[in-house]
Amino acid sequence: MNTPIHGTFIISLSFIISMAVSIIPVPDTVAIIMPSWTLLTLMYWCVALPQKISTGTGWLVGFLFDVLTGNLLGLHALIFATGAYLSHRSYSQIRNFPAWQQAAILFVFLLFAQIASLWLKQTNGQFEINILSLTPAITGALSWPILFTVLRLTRRRYHVH
C-alpha cells in the first residue's frame, strides 16, 4: 500500500466528514452552539502531523468550506489558516499537555477564530451578535478531548504518518 497517498486519503476523508457534520440540518438553537468541526479537525492534524498539515492546508480547507457554505470566499480560508498556524506553532507543547490543558489552549484559539469570523461576517451582512455567538468556542473546547481520541484512534488504526 502506498502510504503517503493512503494517509492523504484518510486526512481528506476526515475533513469531508467534518464538513458534512457542520452542515447537517439541526434546530437553530443547536446550530448556534455547534462548534466548528472542520477547524477542530484541522487543528488536530496540525498537532498530530505538523510536518504534513500546516497553514497552507488550513487555507485550502477553509477555502473549500467557504465554497460549501456560500460565505465570502476567503473568510474561512483566513480563519482556518490562522487557526492552523497557531496550533502548528505550538504543536510540541500541546502534544505534551493533558487533555484538559489542551482544551484550555484550544479554547483560546477557538475564541480568537470565532471573534474574527463574526467580525468578518458582520462586514458582509448584519446579524445579531450576542454572548451566545461565542459559545462555539466553549463547546469546541469541550468536544476537543472526544475528537482528539477519535482521530487519534483513526490515525493509529490506519497508520497515517
Binding site: P25, I32, V67, T69, G70, L72, A77, G125, F127, S133
Partner: protein
C-alpha cells in the same frame, strides 16, 4: 481576496468551478432525509394512496373550474389595462425545485435548492411555493442555487396591504417566519390579520402573491412609526418544494391591434414601434 469577493462579482466563476467538488458533501448530508421520505412513501398503505388520489382529483376539478373563470378575468383585466395603457404581467412560468436539507449558517436565513444554472435560474429570481413568497435566489451554482428567505435580516420586500392598497416595505427580522414593517406612519389604517401581498415594485417579485399576515401592532407614544410584526404565509419548516418564477413583463399594446388576445408577435411589433419614444 475577501474584499474582492465582497465588492465585486469577479470570483463567481471560481465558486462555480469549485462547487462541484463540495456538492457531493451537500448531497451526502441530504441523503438521510431523502431516504426517510422514500421509506415513508413506501410505507404508505394503498388505501391511503387511493384516498389521497380521490382528494387530489376533486381538488383538481375544483381548481380547473376556478381557472376557467380566472382566465376570463385575466383577459378582461388585460383589455382594461390596455385601455389604461399600463403594463401588466402577462404571465408567469415556473420551474419546480426541491429543497436540499442542509444548514449552512445559523446566522443567515438561506436555503439550498437542487436546481442551478443548468436550468437557467438567475440571481434575483423570485422563489415561491403554493402558500406564498419564500425568497429570492442570491447565488446560482451549476447544480444548486442559494435562496435567501424573506425573513433574513438583510432582506426587504416591497409589499402592499391587501385591504387598503397601501404600499410599504417589509424587512426580515432574522427570526424564522417573522417580518417587520418599519415604515408605517402612526395614522396608517392597519389591523392584525391584514394580508400583505407583493406590490410588484422593484421588479424582483411578481405582483399579487401573499407574503405575510399582520400579527401584532404596537404603538408606543413618542415613536413616529407603528411597530408592526407579520407572520409569513410560508412556514419555513414546511418547505419541501420550491417554485422558481419567470415573470414575463411586457407592455400591452396601447390599442388592441387584434380583436383576439394579443399574440406575442403583435406585442413585439408594438414594442419596437413604441421604442423610439
Amino acid at each position: 481576496m475577501i474584499i474582492v469577493d465582497y465588492r465585486t462579482d469577479k470570483l463567481g466563476y471560481i465558486r462555480s468551478y469549485l462547487s462541484p467538488i463540495v456538492h457531493p458533501i451537500i448531497k451526502l448530508v441530504d441523503t438521510p432525509s431523502q431516504i426517510s421520505q422514500w421509506v415513508s412513501s413506501l410505507l404508505q398503505s394503498s388505501s391511503d394512496i387511493l384516498e389521497e388520489n380521490i382528494a387530489i382529483k376533486r381538488d383538481s376539478t375544483l381548481l380547473r373550474a376556478k381557472l376557467l373563470k380566472y382566465e376570463a378575468l385575466e383577459k378582461e383585466n388585460t383589455r382594461l389595462r390596455a385601455v389604461l395603457a399600463s403594463s401588466f404581467e402577462l404571465g408567469e412560468q415556473f420551474i419546480v425545485a426541491s429543497l436540499i436539507n442542509v444548514n449552512l449558517d445559523p446566522n443567515s436565513h438561506r436555503i439550498i435548492a437542487d436546481k442551478g444554472s443548468r436550468f437557467n435560474l438567475f440571481k434575483g429570481q423570485a422563489v415561491i411555493n403554493t402558500k406564498g413568497i419564500i425568497g429570492q435566489i442570491t447565488r446560482v451554482l451549476p447544480f444548486s442555487s442559494e435562496v435567501m428567505l424573506i425573513t433574513d435580516l438583510n432582506h426587504a420586500i416591497p409589499i402592499e396591504i391587501n385591504r387598503t392598497g397601501l404600499r410599504t416595505i417589509a424587512v426580515g427580522t432574522g427570526v424564522f417566519n417573522q417580518l417587520t414593517l418599519p415604515y408605517l406612519p402612526r395614522n396608517t389604517d392597519i389591523k392584525p390579520g391584514d394580508l400583505l401581498t407583493t406590490s410588484g415594485l422593484g421588479g424582483r417579485y411578481p405582483k399579487g402573491y401573499p407574503v405575510a399576515t399582520i400579527s401584532t401592532l404596537s404603538t408606543s407614544p413618542g415613536q413616529a412609526f407603528i411597530e408592526a410584526r407579520a407572520q409569513t404565509a410560508v412556514q419555513t419548516e414546511h418547505i419541501h418544494e420550491l417554485l422558481m418564477v419567470w415573470s414575463d413583463k411586457q407592455p400591452i399594446p396601447l390599442i388592441p391591434v387584434l380583436e383576439q388576445q394579443p399574440t406575442k408577435a403583435s406585442i413585439n411589433q408594438t414594442e419596437t414601434a413604441t421604442e423610439p419614444e
